[in-house]
């Protein structure tokens, strides 16, 4: 099980009823989708206290703690006596006190290690709190110190600082600019170097970095700074899953790489630093694991960002130039294996896997390899499925057919023509359009294929499409009937 049990959202699992949980989860998912449409999709993480972690049950009010005598001592020195009780109810009270954040910061930098830890925990909970009275503006007083402490040696303390900063990143562009100016990126680089053996801290670094670069309206300076900082090789070195610790750190680093690649700021630099090579070899490793049947819980969270990263990096240059980094033919097998394995559980992942294949099959080398490894039948079997899967598969098949006559003949041998007869009847007009395009390529490449299509009773299907009220498919069907059928076929085309 992941260590990630320790890092939870405060909502957690309230209510022991599974149905209630599932209902809440569905509602939550709807909210997230709405948020994404409004470009407001952010998440924050809460690091649980160690004793709560052992406890195992999640109670939102369990974070009731009284700060130790250090705080009250300090306060008493200033002639006011009050103690911090940290539950979500007390935040407004806490913040209404004058200089409350300043007091926390003082303790953060103070000599007492226990006070430091407690103060960091308070700040962390404040950063995570959704309470409207928590003003990140006031939390900003703490950030220079938090950033400084990232180069410290204490893992637990560093982890708290990291998650606090990570929670603050999505708040506003000003916050991010400020963090950048205060040197968060070199600090992260340093931190991951110092704590490279402590995977919990590495995970926290990955999370914070992903929050920094994935927030909306990321300024033009953040990503170039990351690319130039030397963080990339360190992220790449994390990309070997540790079987004991779990997938958490790798997942965070992979999402960082995805956000960097899809921003398309300087993908050439990413490739030059070895990103494509590392991501593809990890995908192959995961493909092998999937083939052996050992599908870990949450493996899709790792496959997803890797696919996206590879898919976008394939456009960073001509495929011929990238080929040395793509030389393992098992990558193609893995890209065909993921849709089969995840079709029923995560169809979107299947679709993205085939999207990567689309970007790869722009080159005849990879098309030839698909035939050599006999992977085309696996693709053809995906044609009945919607969710955009069949459209993406048709794109791949179109790419292959476009290469030439040999490729078309091989496609027909793999059984494409009967499959096209079925896709031509589908309800989605886009599917029919793509099917007609692919069919056109096949029939034009060799008259044998046109005859084979007629033998498969494909003619009536084309004739039926002529009666459609969708012009795109009507024109294409008519064109195919007029120009590409064998001469002996009687064709009934509409005037």
């Amino acid at each position: 099980m992941w260590r990630l049990n320790a890092v939870r959202h405060k909502a957690g699992r309230q209510g022991s009823d599974l149905e209630e949980f599932k209902f809440k989860r569905r509602e939550h998912e709807k909210e997230l989708r709405r948020a994404r449409k409004d470009s407001q999709l952010v998440s924050k993480r809460l690091l649980l206290n160690d004793d709560e972690e052992e406890d195992g049950t999640m109670d939102t009010l369990a974070s009731d703690r009284v700060l130790g005598p250090c705080i009250t001592t300090t306060v008493r020195d200033e002639d006011s006596i009050w103690a911090f009780h940290f539950s979500s109810l007390s935040f407004p009270y806490v913040l209404r006190q004058p200089n409350s954040i300043a007091i926390l910061v003082t303790n953060l930098c103070g000599p007492n290690p226990q006070c430091r830890l407690e103060a960091a925990r308070c700040l962390h909970e404040l950063s995570h709190s959704p309470h409207s009275e928590v003003d990140s503006l006031r939390l900003r007083q703490a950030t220079p110190y938090l950033i400084t402490f990232l180069s410290g040696q204490s893992p637990k303390f560093t982890e708290l600082c990291l998650y606090t900063l990570g929670n603050m990143c999505p708040d506003s562009e000003n916050v991010r600019d400020m963090l950048l100016a205060q040197g968060i990126i070199p600090a992260l680089n340093n931190c991951i170097q110092i704590h490279r053996t402590n995977l919990a801290v590495v995970e926290a670094v990955g999370f914070t970095l992903s929050q920094l670069i994935s927030a909306n309206y990321v300024t033009g300076t953040i990503i170039p700074a990351v690319l130039a900082s030397g963080l990339i090789p360190r992220l790449l070195s994390v990309l070997t899953p540790d079987s004991q610790f779990g997938l958490g750190p790798v997942i965070e680093c992979a999402w960082c790489l995805h956000y960097l690649a899809c921003s398309n700021v300087d993908n050439g630099a990413l490739v030059a630093q070895g990103t494509l090579l590392h991501c593809t070899s990890l995908l192959v490793t995961l493909g092998v694991a999937v083939a052996k049947g050992s599908i870990e819980e949450g493996i899709e969270l790792l496959i997803w960002p890797l696919l996206r990263c590879v898919g976008n990096l394939l456009l960073s240059g001509p495929l011929g130039a990238l080929q040395p980094q793509l030389n393992d033919s098992r990558l193609l097998a893995a890209l065909c294996a993921f849709p089969q394995a995840f079709l029923q559980t995560h169809p979107a992942l299947a679709r993205e896997s085939i999207w990567v294949l689309n970007n790869l099959t722009d080159s005849s080398v990879f098309c030839s390899a698909l035939f050599y490894l006999n992977l085309v039948p696996a693709l053809i079997q995906l044609l009945p499925f919607s969710h955009g899967i069949n459209i993406m598969v048709l794109r791949v098949l179109g790419n292959i057919a476009h290469q030439g006559r040999e490729y078309c003949l091989h496609l027909a041998q793999a059984g494409l023509l009967p499959a096209l007869c079925a896709t031509l009847k589908m309800a989605d007009t886009e599917v029919v359009t793509f099917s007609l395009e692919v069919l056109g390529q096949l029939m034009a490449s060799d008259p044998q294929l046109a005859e084979e299509f007629v033998r498969q009773s494909g003619l009536p299907v084309l004739e039926a499409i002529q009666y459609s009220n969708q012009e795109t498919i009507r024109l294409r069907a008519t064109h195919l009937l007029e120009h590409h059928l064998p001469p002996h076929c009687t064709v009934r085309t509409l005037p």
């Binding site: 030839s368 969710h387 490729y407 309800a427 793509f434």
Partner: protein, 316 residues
Amino acid sequence: MLQPELIQLLTASDLVDLRIDAIPKLQVGFRPGCFFSSSRSQDGEAKLTFIPQQILLNKDHELFEDGDIHRHLYLQNLSTCPAYDSPTARQCEFRCYISGCSQVFSTVEDYEHHYNTLHRHVCSSCQRSLPSARLLDIHIQEWHDSLFSILAERQDMCLVEGCGSKFRTRDQRKDHMIKIHKYPSDFMFDKVKRIKNIKIAKKNMLQKGTSMEVSMSVSEPEGVCEVLSDQPEEEEYMEINHSLEPGILDPASNPINTVELSTDHDTAPILSVTIQPTTNQQRPQHNRERHSYRVPRTVCFGQGSVQGFRGHGRRI
């Protein structure tokens, strides 16, 4: 779940050469003058426009939505649910592309059955669909062939495949088919009647004093809305006098299931199914044939009210 070949590929031993550049490359290119010249039509407009295209997806692309949601559910610790009800892949549906039909089916077989029943072997003159090419030929000959209709001696063919007998009258053919080919006497030889409201038909039957079987037909789709003609009584009389046979209904999967009544003295086409024309297509001029019996002839809305409607039951 995974095909054995894929498993083998991925778990292959190190001895196998897995390098892409070791794989032989197939020859690229088409025969000269083969494809690209003919992909354009005579007016020079490209009809087939597909070209390979690498696709770059940015962070907010809609294709990435499900993955992002999954990621954030994980960050918020809501993804570890034992019975995760995620979206599953759906099989594509099939649609009939004949203009105006637009029915949707969940399997290819359903679609093909629909197409074969309604859109194959269609008579282009009267939009009727016949079960086979042979019956279509016979229908065209008997109904739309002007030369045939003026022959001194009719030559109605026997309907059974392989029997070439010809007859001078419909009744002779019918007798032949019953006697020789052992067809049931209530087979749909001639007229078929479409009756919307069984109550009306029975009422009419009682009025006219004939007893016969009545067949109910399935409700017609929207779009066929005919006003009753001015003299419904006479027509009904004529119709009832003809023999009524239970219609051969289409399979239940097809909701378009109407059989036509011809008011001509000629008999209706055999086993024919009328394709309901939609507003897109022109309607054949058979106004008198399509009666909607949805509105009952006489309805009493309480004491003292007019029995029946003003006018002749115009359908609302």
